[in-house]
């Protein structure tokens, strides 16, 4: 590998890692607090991307206001899903999994019927052009993701550590019974968790809408890598998800460049299987007693 290609590939890998991290971070929060998987997380992302399409591309809103709206859309979706799906299911993990699978279908059809099937939605890149660094070129739109990823991750960590609500969330994640005995309203906490999770999905979807091909099936493409990152990182562990995002970002990028895309996926799933066989709770996950 020439040094030029190496630098470019490292740059690509860093970008890929921040993309995985931004998508996974909301999901891991939901996992940690609810112990349930929100399979529709990728679709929150997708719907938020469409929100940016509708507001920014079609209605001419400024890009950043459209992203703010996308965050709100994601948060609202999260709260609605918690109310209508997760709460009635009362912690039944598998039913939650399948119910959110049903939601995936619903969102895809809604979006397809409103904004059409077929070619991907044209969303202008608000920041066209590349950033050049040491001979590597990366899209400015992607570089923008990094500060957002860093701020969201550290912001969430700070919130969970130093704010009463955040600590309450952590308490529910660690031990729901003890938390409720302490007077914490579990229902409100799960709604908050999914709201924040949805907000992160909305942020990711909004920011990345110019980077991905926005089609109804976008959510389906993203949920599996997101799940893998979250589970390998350790469910509920934000640091773990970040670490896993970096690992898989680098594996996928380097193997795709050196060999090909299919091999890259094969290597990734092998690594994933090895990690989970050795450490089933994930790299930084807690062992469930």
């Amino acid at each position: 590998m020439s040094s030029q290609l190496l630098i470019q590939t490292i740059a690509n890998a860093i970008m890929a890692s921040s993309m995985y991290a931004l998508i996974a971070i909301g999901l891991t929060l939901a996992f940690g607090v609810m112990q349930m998987a929100n399979l529709a997380h990728g679709h929150f992302f997708m719907v938020s991307a469409y929100a940016v399409y509708a507001l920014y591309a079609l209605s001419g809103w400024p890009f950043w206001w459209a992203v703010v709206a996308a965050v709100a859309v994601g948060a609202i979706l999260g709260v609605i899903v918690e109310r209508t799906i997760f709460r009635p299911l009362q912690g039944d993990v598998v039913s939650g999994f399948i119910a959110t699978m049903g939601l995936m279908f619903v969102f895809e059809v809604l979006v397809g019927e409103i904004w059409g099937w077929g070619l991907s939605r044209p969303i202008p890149s608000p920041y066209m052009g590349a950033v050049r660094f040491l001979g590597a070129a990366v899209s400015f739109q992607r570089v923008l993701l990094m500060p957002f990823a860093l701020v969201s991750i550290s912001g969430l960590l700070l919130f969970m550590k130093h704010f009463r609500l955040g600590r309450a969330l952590r308490a529910v994640a660690l031990d729901p019974e003890a938390a409720s005995l302490q007077g914490i309203n579990i229902n409100r906490m799960t709604a908050l968790a999914l709201g924040i999770s949805g907000a992160y999905a909305g942020l990711a979807g909004g920011l990345m809408s110019p980077i991905y091909a926005v089609t109804p099936s976008l959510g389906g493409h993203l949920i599996l890598p997101a799940l893998i990152v979250v589970v390998v990182g350790g469910m509920g562990s934000i640091g773990g998800a970040t670490l896993a995002a970096v690992i898989f970002g680098f594996i996928m990028t380097f193997v795709t460049t050196l060999v090909d895309g299919v091999t890259a996926v094969m290597v990734s799933v092998t690594v994933m299987a090895i990690v989970l066989v050795i450490k089933p709770q994930g790299l930084m996950g807690r062992v469930i007693a």
């Binding site: 590998m1 290609l5 470019q8 590939t9 690509n12 890998a13 890929a16 993309m19 591309a57 609605i80 109310r83 209508t84 709460r87 009635p88 009362q90 912690g91 619903v106 895809e108 059809v109 809604l110 019927e113 409103i114 904004w115 059409g116 099937w117 077929g118 070619l119 991907s120 939605r121 044209p122 969303i123 202008p124 890149s125 066209m128 052009g129 590349a130 070129a137 990366v138 899209s139 229902n187 799960t190 110019p210 991905y212 091909a213 089609t215 109804p216 099936s217 389906g220 493409h221 993203l222 996928m252 990028t253 380097f254 795709t256 460049t257 050196l258 090909d260 895309g261 299919v262 996926v265």
Partner: protein, 469 residues
């Protein structure tokens, strides 16, 4: 967590909202009178005798077997519009005039979700329950599963994937989207805008990448063959997974081989948009060719000067390309489509017209033409598909959407089931900010000259029909 009645109530509300939102408005058919544009598109029929009355024949059923929902719906669902436009026009005149009777056409759709098993189920339903004689389909894995059954029942399967054709499948036809011929012209076109081998002092370098699916593998092999025949060195030839969302590493790998031409081959529109973005960002300075370019989306990521400088080549023409002319078949079709499916129309599909919208009509019309010609030998009866295909093969030329066509395919696919028509080649036009046809290429004579080299490369990759066992 307490079970909340409110939670269940909100689920019902969600259900109701979704259903109310999603229940489609039933399209009320527009006026029954034939419009001028519809008359134009019917002009491809040799013997429709619009206005003259003839006895009614029975309804002739045709099928549409493709992905109508789910992740592959973008490739299937749009095709319904084109076929519907044709059927509507034909039926307005009372039906297709065959052997002295007017036969109205009816289309039945089946969603196979691009899954071979469901495609076979669909083929069975269409034939056994609806007695279809002709099926418009996308092809690929579904073609493999449905071929034995459809061959037995002698139902034509009009695939968009010519590589589905083989002698063991006498009723699989293709050619609508002129692949792999258009792909094979990519290296030829690229050579026209590049400095010559002599000027550079080295052979020209060709890189090709596309998604790994049944069609791309075969089309890619033919394109590589053509590139080799034009003196190119193949420096990159890899396929990416259909799940790929990050194209930066792929483009980096492409650029590392220093190609003069990068071909995106059969890359789906959403992939090629993201690859164009990366090519621009990572600074590729050579020629870019592909099968289907979606400039409206691409130009949201890259400035138009970039594809113009890349002599961007592709081959899915626009139906409203000025090349065809304001009174052309294509212009009429576009007007009808916009009136029925465009913005504000009764069946507004909330999207632009794509190539898929008309791609299936490319074979549907010749089938109707063949029925009219063959019907002369069997007055009062609808001719068999064998007779229809024989009639088409006998004709030296018949009209198709892309120009005068004839039946071909023995050389490339072992059976004369392919429509060969002028191959439209587009280049990106800066003034128009979109693709424009620059030439219609004549494939067969050119292929004669390069045949041995091409076939060698195709066979080396195991993609020739004789190797498909």
């Amino acid at each position: 967590m307490r079970r909340t009645r409110f939670g269940k109530l909100s689920t019902w509300i969600l259900f109701a909202i979704t259903f109310a939102f999603v229940l489609p408005s039933i399209a009320i058919s527009a006026s029954k009178k034939l419009t001028v544009d519809e008359a134009v598109i019917l002009s491809h029929l040799p013997d429709q005798q619009i206005g003259k009355t003839y006895p009614q024949g029975e309804e002739i059923n045709v099928g549409f077997l493709a992905a109508l929902s789910g992740p592959d719906a973008g490739w299937g669902l749009p095709g319904v519009t084109g076929n519907s436009i044709w059927i509507e026009a034909v039926n307005k005149t009372g039906g297709l005039l065959v052997g002295g009777k007017r036969y109205p056409l009816k289309m039945h759709q089946f969603d196979d979700e691009a899954n071979a098993s469901k495609a076979l189920q669909g083929a069975r339903q269409l034939v056994l329950q609806h007695d279809v004689k002709f099926i418009s389909a996308i092809g690929g894995d579904p073609a493999n599963a449905t071929a034995p059954f459809l061959t037995k029942h002698k139902v034509i399967y009009a695939s968009l994937v010519p590589t589905d054709m083989q002698p063991a499948r006498p009723y699989v036809v293709a050619g609508g989207d002129v692949t792999p011929q258009c792909n094979m012209f990519n290296p030829l076109m690229a050579k026209m805008v590049l400095p010559s081998e002599k000027e550079l002092g080295r052979p020209l370098r060709y890189a090709i990448t596309t998604q790994d699916d049944i069609m791309s593998r075969q089309v890619g092999a033919w394109e590589v063959g053509a590139a080799v025949s034009q003196g190119f060195d193949i420096v990159y030839e890899k396929f990416f997974s259909t799940d790929t969302t990050d194209f930066a590493p792929i483009v980096s790998a492409l650029l590392a081989t220093n190609p003069d031409v990068i071909s995106l081959c059969e890359a789906w529109p959403e992939y090629q948009t993201l690859m164009w973005e990366q090519l621009y960002l990572q600074g590729f300075k050579g020629v870019v060719a592909q099968n289907y370019a979606d400039w409206e989306t691409n130009l949201t990521k890259i400035p138009p000067e970039y594809p113009a400088a890349r002599s961007a080549i592709d081959s899915f023409p626009l139906m409203d390309d000025p090349w065809w002319g304001a009174n052309s078949w294509q212009a009429s079709f576009t007007r009808i489509w916009n009136k029925q499916y465009g913005p504000g129309a009764p069946d507004d599909v909330h999207r632009r017209m794509t190539g898929i919208d008309w791609d299936h009509v490319v074979w549907f019309i010749p089938w109707c033409i063949g029925a009219q010609v063959a019907g002369k030998d069997t007055p009062g009866e609808w001719p068999s598909n064998d007779a229809i295909l024989a009639a088409l093969r006998k004709m030296s030329s018949f009209p198709t959407i892309l120009g005068p066509g004839h039946m071909s395919g023995k050389e490339m696919f072992g059976i004369q089931n392919m429509i060969e028509q002028p191959v439209p080649m587009n280049m990106f036009d800066l003034k128009a900010n979109d693709k424009r046809i620059i030439a219609h290429m004549n494939f067969e004579p050119w292929f004669e000259a390069i045949k041995p080299v091409v076939l060698k490369e195709v066979k080396k990759r195991g993609q020739h029909w004789t190797q498909r066992k």
